[in-house]
Symmetry: C2
Subunit: 344 residues, 2 copies
């Protein structure tokens, strides 16, 4: 072998990696409307609707820790995070294919538990499991799911279509999954130190559940259709609010202002952040895995959502030149920055 250059993957980062891959591929088939760069690919197989296609891989020790993640919840979550990508396109999920690599530490009963979670998610989201692949692995568990969905052509929501003046909205509350993870990690350490101790999750149910068994916000997608509301742009919050807002701004070539006192955080997440000496706003901006929807709407659509208990207006879209800023109550502006999750 000749001597070759070696560049560490860690120097690229997640988005550098995506851009490097994307750069080499062009779309050539007429059925390929949109490739890499949004929550899902967009395919055209009929006149009236698009088919959506996305895939997500979860790896043991990277995305989940089986010392506190029940396999049934993991199966559910693996489906939910894929459905969340379909939701972010304003689509309805239809089918999944599930690939598993698992080592022989897993028994048939363990596999059954995992599939019970997958089955529960399929029922809840009205999806059919239509195929998959299973192989052994030398270490641990890897789950890959590919999901399909459909959306009427006139209802699809991309990341790149926010306009100046649009209101920025988010569903539910943020920071819960991240603070839930802190609790689970703490109790794991306690247990490792003293295996006789029982984990103390008392009163932390909501945020622990947000971490272990998140829901894709299909309820909101269905409500949009009832309200005849089509967001001007949308993305799901998997990597933290900051990262997702920057995606929308970058792809829409716009700026944004969001207000710290408008950011929705659950009381329990707030208290838990404080308990861990974490800034709650940082948990919202950079904590991940909430799987809420971040979207923009025209100002005239405000009436449709203003009384919605589960939607918060957190700011608005501005010119690109104004940047992406967080305004504090005291009137200071801080640029929003984010890296997403860095695995390598």
């Amino acid at each position: 072998m000749e001597e070759t250059k070696r560049t560490e993957l860690s120097t690229l980062g997640e988005f550098g990696l995506i851009n490097r891959i994307k750069g080499n591929f062009t779309l050539n088939n007429k059925e390929s409307v949109k490739g890499i760069g949004d929550d899902t690919a967009v395919l055209e197989y009929s006149d009236s609707e698009y088919v959506l296609l996305s895939t997500d891989m979860l790896a043991e020790s990277v995305h989940f820790d089986l010392s506190y993640v029940p396999l049934r919840h993991l199966g559910y979550k693996a489906v939910a995070v894929n459905v969340s990508d379909i939701a972010a396109m304003n689509g309805i999920p239809k089918q999944i294919v599930v690939s598993l690599a698992l080592s022989n530490k897993f028994s048939v009963e363990a596999l059954d538990e995992l599939y019970l979670g997958i089955e529960a998610a399929c029922k809840n989201y009205k999806i059919d499991l239509v195929g998959g692949d299973t192989t052994s692995s030398r270490s641990g568990l890897i789950i890959n799911i590919a999901v399909t969905g459909t959306v009427k052509k006139e209802e699809i929501t991309y990341r790149s279509t926010a306009n100046v003046g649009d209101l920025i909205c988010v569903t539910g509350d943020l920071g819960g999954a991240f603070t839930g993870l802190q609790i689970l990690e703490r109790e794991k350490q306690v247990y490792l130190t003293n295996p006789d101790m029982q984990p103390d999750l008392e009163g932390k149910d909501y945020i622990v559940q947000k971490q272990l068994r998140p829901e894709a916000r299909m309820d909101i997608v269905h409500e949009f259709k009832e309200l005849k509301l089509i967001p001007t742009s949308m993305i799901d919050v998997s990597d933290g609010l900051a990262s997702e807002l920057l995606h929308i701004c970058k792809q829409s070539v716009k700026g944004a202002v969001i207000y710290d006192d408008k950011l929705p955080i659950d009381n329990l997440a707030y208290e838990t952040a404080t308990e861990f000496n974490l800034d709650p706003i940082t948990c919202i901006l950079n904590g991940g895995e909430d799987y809420e929807l971040l979207f923009t709407i025209k100002q005239e659509d405000f009436e449709k959502i203003k009384n919605h208990a589960d939607i918060s207006v957190i700011g608005h879209i501005v010119d690109k030149a104004k940047g992406v800023n967080l305004m504090t109550k005291s009137g200071n502006a801080y640029p929003v920055t984010a890296q997403g999750w860095v695995h390598f």
Copy 2:
């Protein structure tokens, strides 16, 4: 934790596992025509054609050994094996999404090599890469690809539709990938014993290539369309001829007779089998990864393929009661049995 029963995955086998999963899932969406049980799922998003969806996962140390598999070939093969599933439905591949789990032993340059192979396959098979996911893993490389394709409704070929009297055909030759693997494994052992030795692959190009960089037989699928030939059933040969023939017979509720002197084997594969004291017929029946197409046609379609240099007629379909048998030149009948690949 209460005491729970532990059943080893190895007790199920690959097909036991598939049946166990399949048993818990039903199809509920009108767009889901066919789920688990054929080469791909079959989805209905338009009036005139079906959308095909399949997924395949390749794991290091299980499906490939990076000590002799070049990453570029691996990328190509990972796409080809997925395309082969689309070919087996008589379909045209359209898009792929690629998920990778890789440890930090892989450099950016290694990743580039892998994607060069993926890109070459996309060009060759006229597929668009439209998305994916990349994560770190604690050990080794896992590649999952999901592929979509289309097929006119009247041209789809299932496994379950072979009829008594149909001719059984296979493309190309069989046993090459398996004998190629024997060569590569032998040279690896030689190298491990004496790292100064160069691998001796002299004259073995064809079978080594069949193992390292197989082609999906899209050429044949396109020829079918030119010949206006629609096979009565079809499957791709990934696990060995025996296993695939049994799939067709079981799902069609039929039997079959195949003739040992009709089985296509390349001279080099034959010689190599002999060199390793392997029975060439066993290499054909139980060696895997040839990615040829096994299909059945009506007798009246024989004229269309009888002079085709790359299609062999190896037998015919009979009543289920007659079983699935291999007839030898000497007139003896041996029941065909197979397990597919057992990973666990």
